[in-house]
């Protein structure tokens, strides 16, 4: 009897192998969609089937949401990419061989991320996360333009250093857990570590958390460890940007939070809260200012991802049931919205044949529907109602003000600065007299609409079961 979580992890890898041998990119694209649909189905099955805690796999209230999101966005992205990537062949940016490679890597990446999410073993999670990272490195360099290769190289070096530091942190966690849990696998198992946290050596925990914060923080894209993120988003294929912002950052943050749970279990250890608050605020405000000078629309939204990651880290740093709840909600909403935005950006790039903001004007005249969808997506990410991001930002800011009135000014300041830049760019792109070419967009708009609908629903109504999961996870996060 195989269990859903096994399917969720294994299916993509199998699909990857299959895709490696399938000739013809259309067939490959279809296979990719089918495989992702399968994984998504398995994810849903996982949601409804009972929770799992085995030596190597864990599925609890905390990660179930992220598995669901992961498989869902994986599916929608595959859908988008299937209708999008053909265009790349026509424009000659990709060869069929590369495209076959692309599809295989896509599945492998999804599988690795699912592995990282489901792993009950900190070593296994590390492996999964690093695998996903290295694959994305290759994907970023896919176009083989100088810029793409440079972005990939930068990503590669920074990520490798991050990997090493994270691994050292992992070793330290093992060392901390070893006395309590004995040698071997148990000392690397999430649920046991969490349970035994109070009996661990605080000093080692602190050291471990710092290394993990820097190591995984590099993947979360916290300033000043963010340098790889904008270029990687800008130079890679758009579907990959969507997956990067929507999923990989989340998975990295998920890892960080797991470790925070462990550290939170040991009162004697250094409180990670202030550190996370500072790093979060730095990323938030820094990214907000960086938005103003952007000329590449994908890089623009990459920086906005940094901004929102900063806000989440800030929220988790604040801690407490309300802020943690808001942080988790924000993670979910951000990954849905941001991947949706990248879908829209892909459409725009096809419509105008360029991703330079200067070349994009008057969309609301040439492509009214696309313009409306894009505007809605941007408003959603800016935390305006009726979208879910508004809910999370509402909770974060209000509860912060209620607890630390003066501290609340900083995130609000950052968000306002960021909103100023995004709104400016939005108005530049959708308003005014259209310039340049206005091609027909053949990429499917279903994924974008789907994501917008989900975010909209969340802004108006949060299903109680979701709320229950989040609240449970929030109290674990301390």
């Amino acid at each position: 009897m195989i269990h859903a979580y096994q399917v969720v992890v294994v299916a993509p890898y199998v699909a990857a192998l299959v895709l490696l041998v399938i000739p013809g990119y259309r067939l490959g694209a279809i296979t990719n969609v089918v495989a992702s649909a399968l994984t998504f189905a398995a994810g849903l099955w996982l949601v409804v089937s009972e929770r799992v805690v085995s030596d190597y796999a864990i599925v609890d209230e905390f990660n179930i949401v992220f598995i669901a999101i992961n498989t869902l966005v994986g599916f929608t992205t595959a859908l988008f990419s299937a209708s999008y990537i053909g265009h790349e062949i026509e424009t000659g940016r990709l060869t069929p061989t590369l495209l076959r490679f692309y599809h295989a890597m896509f599945q492998a990446m999804m599988g690795s991320m699912n592995l990282a999410l489901i792993a009950n073993n900190i070593g296994l999670m590390w492996v999964g996360l690093e695998l996903a990272t290295l694959i994305t490195v290759v994907m970023v360099g896919l176009y083989r333009t100088p810029q793409a290769i440079e972005a990939a190289w930068k990503y590669f070096i920074l990520a490798s250093v991050g990997i090493s530091l994270a691994f050292f942190g992992t070793i330290l966690i093992y060392l901390a857990g070893q006395p309590a849990l004995g040698e071997g696998v148990p000392a690397m198992t999430w649920n046991l570590l969490q349970a035994a946290a109070s009996r661990m050596d605080p000093a080692i925990l602190d050291l471990a958390f710092i290394f993990l914060l820097i190591g995984y923080g590099t993947k979360v894209g916290l300033a000043p460890l963010h340098a790889w993120l904008p270029d990687a988003h800008a130079e890679g294929p758009t579907p990959i940007s969507a997956v990067l912002s929507g999923l990989l950052l989340n998975v990295a943050l998920y890892a960080l939070l797991r470790f925070k749970m462990v550290v939170a279990g040991q009162p004697a250890a250094l409180d990670p809260g202030p550190i996370m608050i500072v790093m979060g605020l730095v990323s938030l405000i820094f990214a907000a200012f960086m938005l103003y000078q952007r000329r590449d629309i994908k890089r623009l939204f990459a920086y906005s991802s940094i901004e929102h990651m900063g806000l989440m880290v800030f929220a988790f740093g604040m801690g407490g049931p309300l802020a943690n709840f808001a942080g988790l909600l924000h993670m979910t909403m951000h990954s849905l919205t941001k991947s949706g935005i990248f879908f829209a950006v892909g459409h725009i790039a096809q419509a105008k044949g360029s991703q330079r903001i200067a070349d994009i004007k008057g969309l609301s005249v040439t492509h009214p529907r696309l313009a409306v969808a894009f505007a809605l997506a941007v408003f959603a990410i800016s935390g305006l109602p009726p979208f879910g991001v508004f809910t999370s930002e509402f909770l974060i800011l209000t509860t912060t003000f209620a607890r630390e009135p003066w501290l609340a000014l900083l995130p609000a300041f950052g968000l306002l600065i960021g909103f100023g830049a995004l709104l400016m760019r939005l108005q530049d792109t959708i308003f005014g007299e259209p310039v340049g070419p206005a091609h027909r967009v053949d990429a499917s708009s279903v994924p974008l609409v789907l994501h917008l609908l989900l975010v909209l629903t969340a802004g108006i109504y949060l299903p109680p079961v979701l709320v229950a999961w989040f609240q449970r996870a929030a109290e674990l996060l301390g």
């Binding site: 690093e130 100088p146 290769i149 590669f156 050292f168 070893q178 904008p230």
Partner: protein, 219 residues
Amino acid sequence: MNHAYEISHLLAGVMLVTSFALLYQQRVAAVLNTFAAQSIALALAVAWAAWSQDRPDLFITALIALTLKGIVIPVALHRTVARLGIHREVEKVVGVGVALMVGLALTGLAQALLFKVTHGTASHAREELALALSIILMGFLMMIVRRNAVTQIVGFMSMENGLILAATGARGMPLVVEVSVAFSVLIALFVFAVFVFRIRERFDTIDIEALDRMRGDRR
């Protein structure tokens, strides 16, 4: 079996010394030799751990360390260096003296951090851990105080030596072997990447400064 610790500490100490030597070296060739020495020391340390903790699988790690990092990569890099004709002085960002001072400070920091560790198995392993940590930090330092790609790769590899050391020092830690393999692959990719860029002649030198001339988003 107290001497087990002493021997492993001895080997770790040797590695630390080699790290300092790496910071000190002026010429690429010498850097590579020193690194080879460090890797061999690592191999010995791992082998010793494998024997003393009787975990035969660690011998694989030792073997990898010895062959790949002790011999193959240094030789390969020697070739490259010769081919690229950059075996003269390595351009440094800060002087050797400063680098060594910073290295000392980092070592002190590492000691101070692990001094707090009080109980559990960790406390036995803590000196070794401290040494590993300082090796890692100094590898990182080497990556940022040297300007050319080969020395940076070496820096990264000595960082990773420190990691393997720490991993083996942690008694009974699973996956060490797999991870060491993974890291070797990573390094292979590193070296490979440099070669690739060289072969495709996208970048006429492998000085990393040149690798990122065309940072995106210019006007």
